[in-house]
Symmetry: C2
Subunit: 251 residues, 2 copies
DNA sequence: TTGGCAAACTGGTCTGAACCAGATGCTCGA
DNA sequence: TCGAGCATCTGGTTCAGACCAGTTTGCCAA
């Protein structure tokens, strides 16, 4: 019940942690660093850790949440906690799709199309695409995975006028490739906005995350060589699954 | 003790939340959206909310954490919870310093220099700056605020050979301006890497955050027109304080 | 061998209680 | 008037126990 004043070491502020969950976090982090726990490995269950460290389950979970926030571990709902694989490096300046750059990093990408539809442009999209209100736009919602783990959901919108029949294609492959091969479309410019966010609602469900876990929201507007808007994309990434790399000239 | 099945509305799955903390989150979010609570306003204390909603304090905190992860509120340690101001928009392609782009958004920026030093290059920095091991480099650590709230800490390194006496200047102003005015240095290219992270250790302390809260880590290498490395920068942002915007040509 | 079901397991949610330590505000004495 | 100091308030940490709802597993029947 009491705090069991931590008198472990000579330097109370250095190694001996004032807060128990920090100590536990360091312990688990050390196991991962030492290679006792490798990416994909399952951690002992919360109740097992409870017995092992003689801490309340809440305290155990506090440490796990911290490791999760640091990207060191992730959870699969009601299954357990697992050691995170390294993140994918993402360079938004490169116009290669997800499939190719994930593969280039020696990982196995996969895509699952959640839904497709052709919908009339609402005011916002009409504005973005510079097309009249009600102009047909393809809406595609996809879930993308790396090594079998869902890492991002995307909602993308494409101008139906320049990509007739797009949603009849197999969208579980590279959209980049489809646009280029079948419609002769390539992207010359991207406008990107991103912000750290909490994954909630649909996104959390699709990523099999508990609602409220941190993520990265990324919006992209892609233009072709004529300055025409080709694609409008909303991506929601697991925060621990991605690292952004950009190389750019300054204006 | 029981879950007190929320019978507030007509549609149990729509508005009425299955989890109490989600309901409370929505309630507070609604107050903010409605303008009852404005940016900077203090929320009722956890114990007050406890009385008001008849929930355990842990449940109250669960809802607050969620709002915090969403960037809607933030905490000041042992002072209270406050409504977040809107984020600053940050465009890494633009070579104007923090001071100018924050001001351009109608906010009040400020900078506090935590420490400065001139230190011989270690292997990593020697490599980055393409300078011999041990070459003198200026290390600067600064805390930057918007409207009085600390939003980022940065650790930056500048080649001392091309900026002699840099750390004698008043570094609480724009470094961009100092480099340009006093050393004739401008940046032509940036290489940026960023990833969502947890703020821990020094960063958390400086930002007066609890260790483990989500943030955004950003590293930047800046080059001048001759391809010479001018500056190496590590920034740690509060996750709710920044939105990244980039406009770029595709390779 | 295989399919389905049930028990066991795991994380998710919630309660309620206690004590700690920094922030804040108020009071009282100099 | 003003500063020191204390009381109070606030979030931070930890404990212990309970029940819920998906996941997993292993057994048994077809």
């Amino acid at each position: 019940m009491e705090k069991a004043a931590d008198t472990t070491g000579a330097s109370p502020a250095d190694t001996a942690e004032s807060r128990q969950y920090l100590g536990l976090r360091d312990g688990i982090a050390a196991r991962i660093a030492a290679g006792d726990l490798k990416p994909g490995d399952k951690l002992p269950s919360e109740r097992q850790l409870q017995g092992e460290f003689a801490l309340a389950r809440g305290t155990i979970r506090e440490a796990l949440f911290l490791l999760e926030a640091e990207g060191a571990i992730f959870r699969r709902d009601r299954s357990g906690w697992y050691v995170s694989p390294p993140p994918v490096v993402y360079d938004p300046t490169r116009w290669e799709g997800f499939m190719s750059y994930v593969e280039a990093q020696g990982r196995v990408p996969s895509t699952h199309t959640i839904s497709t539809a052709t919908i009339p442009a609402d005011p916002l999209l009409s504005d973005i695409f510079a097309r009249p209100l009600g102009a047909p736009l393809h809406h595609i919602r996809r879930l993308r995975s790396v090594d079998g783990r869902a890492v991002l959901v995307e909602k993308l919108v494409v101008d139906a006028a320049i990509t007739p029949g797009l949603i009849e294609f197999d969208l579980n492959t590279s959209l980049t490739a489809i646009l280029k091969r079948n419609f002769g479309i390539t992207v010359a410019r991207n406008q990107i906005s991103m912000q750290p966010c909490a994954l909630t609602g649909d996104e959390a469900v699709d990523l099999r995350q508990k609602s409220g876990l941190p993520g990265l929201a990324l919006q992209r507007v892609s233009y072709d060589g004529h300055g025409r808007v080709v694609e409008y994309d909303h991506e929601y990434w697991r925060h621990d699954a991605v690292q952004i790399n950009v190389d750019l000239r300054v204006r």
